[in-house]
């Protein structure tokens, strides 16, 4: 049984939470708002508080989550979201403060931002950081805006090309296009790493930046990273690090030391803040000193122990968020870093990488691994064998995993691996969980040979089976209908 829409549970006149009585002398709305059109129909659900609780609780039970089970989505870092972070973010002194209060009345909040930003700079080997961007793609966009202004400030007006490997996240080219830059793809070599000759050919006096994910989306560390950065710098460009995969590097190596000039972090990946079904997140960025003048305003400063917000920054790109970014997400990340310390952070990277390599070692016999060597925090399998031999695709295998209670890996990404299954276990998962997952994958591989129909028609145990995506587009239904529309 599906859960009905909440609008259909409503009954005229039913009330939930009540508002307080008006305790001031009333003003006539008509007299105070002459000529202003007032609200007519307001077709919202009329339900009781219990209706609301039951409805959304039932919806929650029709959802997978880290709290329920393994979530091996590659490039998404679905690690445990500690509840201590949630409690910290709900402290009234954080949750109940207004962004435009006088700075003297929010010294604790400003100190938290200042410290977190300095820790992010230290963790990444950068010189400064800001938590203003609300998501990874937002951090990419902000970074490219800063790169854009950096070149123009130097009179390098013609630099309008961003080089992006063909294995990159889709947000990279979309962010570049968003700030008027042209995208030029760079192919990966047969070893899954950046093709140095192709990179060399692509560089020119129009190169604004190279955007690189490291470890890349195949889970491989770009071993030539030092040389790559030197080449791009030699051509006058800057190097951007997509930090989605930073979980592999915490305390082990730093993008700033590798030669990257600017990077984004996903606090909702690496630093354990919850994904919330798609957000909110935080796409903090770190920059080298030459990009610091371009950081968005306001910048948190600390002079003699007094924190302030500086908006007088003549080279700043401007602002990319209504206020200072997702502050309460920053609180959670702060709490996480503070709880782990330097050794704990390094341990995160070590176990993330160990877990991924363990999965690789257990699944290499049953699935193709196009680049079967030591990986970082994630491993990319291919179902090409199952597709050609049994007509079973990566998506089928993913759907079949649901019948074992596991969320599927990332499918069909990176685009350069056919029938890709991208698995990122994260450090949170125990050997038992990984073994259960690998056992399921091996059983599915056997089913692909013996009973491929079971895999092709999966999932069989979920609340709905495969959905008609074509019908969803053709008969677009994106809101409930109420009387007279």
């Amino acid at each position: 049984m599906g859960e009905p829409l909440i609008i259909d549970k409503g009954r005229t006149g039913r009330r939930g939470v009540l508002m307080p009585a008006c305790d001031v002398p009333r003003t006539s709305v008509q007299e105070a708002l002459p000529g202003v059109a007032l609200r007519g129909r307001l077709p919202l659900p009329e339900v009781s508080e219990l209706d609301t609780i039951r409805h959304f609780t039932r919806l929650s039970q029709r959802n997978h989550a880290i709290d329920l089970g393994f979530y091996p989505l590659g490039s998404c870092t679905m690690k445990y979201n500690p509840r201590a972070n949630e409690r910290a973010a709900r402290l009234p002194g954080f949750a109940g403060i207004h962004p435009m209060q006088p700075a003297a009345s929010v010294q604790g909040a400003l100190q938290l931002l200042f410290d977190l930003q300095s820790w992010l700079a230290e963790i990444s080997g950068m010189d400064a950081a800001t938590v203003q961007p609300a998501a990874g793609a937002h951090g990419e966009l902000l970074s490219l805006m800063m790169v854009h202004d950096y070149h123009r400030q130097r009179g390098d007006m013609q630099r309008d090309v961003v080089l992006i490997p063909d294995s990159a996240h889709g947000t990279n080219p979309a962010s570049a296009a968003r700030c008027g830059l042209r995208v030029q793809p760079v192919p990966s070599g047969p070893d899954g790493l950046t093709d140095m000759a192709a990179l060399n050919r692509a560089l020119s006096d129009r190169t604004a930046a190279l955007m690189l994910t490291n470890p890349n989306t195949l889970g491989l560390f770009e071993t030539n990273i030092g040389e790559i950065c030197d080449l791009v710098h030699g051509a006058g460009g800057l190097v951007y690090c997509d930090g989605a995969n930073m979980n592999a590097l915490l305390g082990v190596a730093r993008p700033g030391d590798m030669g990257f000039d600017v990077m984004h972090f996903n606090l909702h990946k690496t630093f354990s803040t919850p994904h919330g079904g798609g957000g909110p997140g935080c796409g903090a960025i770190g920059v080298k000193a030459m990009l610091e003048p371009f950081l968005p305003v306001p910048v948190v400063t600390c002079i003699d122990g007094v924190y302030a917000l500086d908006v007088d920054r003549p080279h700043s790109v401007g602002q990319v968020h209504s206020f200072y970014g997702a502050f309460l997400i920053a609180v959670r990340a702060y709490n996480y870093i503070r709880s782990l310390g330097p050794d704990g952070l390094r341990e995160v990277a070590e176990y993330a990488v160990l877990n991924a390599n363990y999965v690789r070692s257990r699944l290499r016999s049953a699935f193709d691994i196009p680049h079967d060597r030591t990986c970082m925090h994630e491993v990319v399998l291919s179902a090409a064998r199952q597709k050609s031999r049994n007509g079973v695709r990566a998506m089928d295998i993913s759907k079949r995993l649901m019948d074992y209670g596991f969320h599927p890996p990332t499918n069909y990404f990176p685009l350069i691996v056919p029938e890709a299954l991208m698995i990122e276990p994260t450090e949170s998962e125990s050997k038992e969980t990984l073994d259960a997952f690998c056992d399921a994958m091996l059983e599915i591989a056997r089913d692909c040979e013996a009973t491929p129909d079971i895999v092709r028609s999966a999932p069989h145990g979920t609340v709905v089976s495969r959905l008609d995506e074509t019908a969803a587009v053709k008969r677009l239904d994106v809101r409930w209908e109420t009387k007279s529309g």
């Binding site: 997978h64 989550a65 409690r87 006088p102 080219p173 990273i225 919330g276 709880s339």
Partner: protein
Amino acid sequence: MSYTPHTDADRAAMLAAVGVGSVTELFEPIDPALRLNRPLNVPAALDEASLAREMAALAGRNASSSTHVSFLGAGIYDHFSPAVVDAIISRGEFLTSYTPYQPEMSQGMLQAVYEYQSLVCALTGMELANASMYDAATAIAEAALMAVEATGRKTVVVSPLLHPHYLRVLATYVRTAGYTLVCTAESDLRTSLVDPATREALSGAACLVLQSPNFMGIIEDLPEAIRCARDSGALSVVSVDPVSLGLLAPPGDFGADVVVGEGQGLGLAQGFGGPLLGFFACRLEHQRRFPGRIVGATVDSEGRRGYTMTLRTREQDIRRERATSNICTNEALCALAASVHLCAIGPQGLREMADLCFQKAHYAHRMLCAIPGIRPASLSPFFDEFALLLPDGADVVDLIDTLLNDGVIAGLALAPYRPDLPTGLLIAVTENRTRQDIDQLASAVAEYLTGRGPTHG
């Protein structure tokens, strides 16, 4: 703290399975010269109890709505959030789930987003809403860039009475994308579109962007502005306070093309300004240019109703540099909070909430304007926020600092944003303020002006 479950035995067994002797060997692809050969310089680890004490101390250094009575608005409001909101968004099934790329395992979140889209459409009077944007500022910027695509025109016309931060964000997006931003005129703190320069700019504009109630709290003449934009071939992009829509007609009623706004007032914490909730709604005709995720209803292979992300070919992971936006992570949990809030209070609750804000703000306006030397900055109609002018020479920042010590956050000093209003004070009054709070503000302001005002040093 440690959140890794590995025992020594696990670690040994796993290393053996991988075929290496130590974890360090796994990092061999990284050139030793590029590895960090020292511990990170961040504070040492803390146990949960000690850290909780430290965080409480840090939070305790902030004046908050728990310690102070606040009349600060300007985009973020101290509204009441029913207990059910936090109860639902704290559920791990929602809190710790990912973007619903796999619909069979994500029906709960998908249906919740579909319902959110429906609620936003009902509230704004529009046909299509996305699954959320970061905040009002970026929703406005995305709307402007969509209008550029839709019209082929490269000028964005904006009201100077848009929130100054939103204006700064819009300017950043428009400038770096290579387009032009032009401000309209204003009159009595309302957007004015009658002067020749504004008319001229509008005639070649992709869109007209304005906010109502505007930054000064004034309700704009939306029917006129939307008609003006349409007559010039520009789209109208209207940013609204969703709470005000319990009292005021929605922009959809006047034919607005895009309605955006800040959803924080619908159950979200002020949270020092984030995370926020940008809502974005438009006419169905823009469905192919629309930024962000959309959830649609469909059926499964057995004919059962189900929900899935749809119109996906607009999105960055498929369309890459030709995507309609780069948005990926959005504000799903904040959207869920807004949905729960709207369901919990219902239509009558939203009407009463808006009415209470209106009534209390107008009471506060009367009380404050009765103080000798204080004048309203405008005679135009307002909803729950208004600007006052204190006597010439009054130091608004000093007034705010003084009242802060008495437990009142008096509002926002306007001078940094409006040099033409050096004694301007912007005051917001929500349903959370009692008559006693308002009387306290009025008497504290009166006392300040008589006791410590410019004439008394």
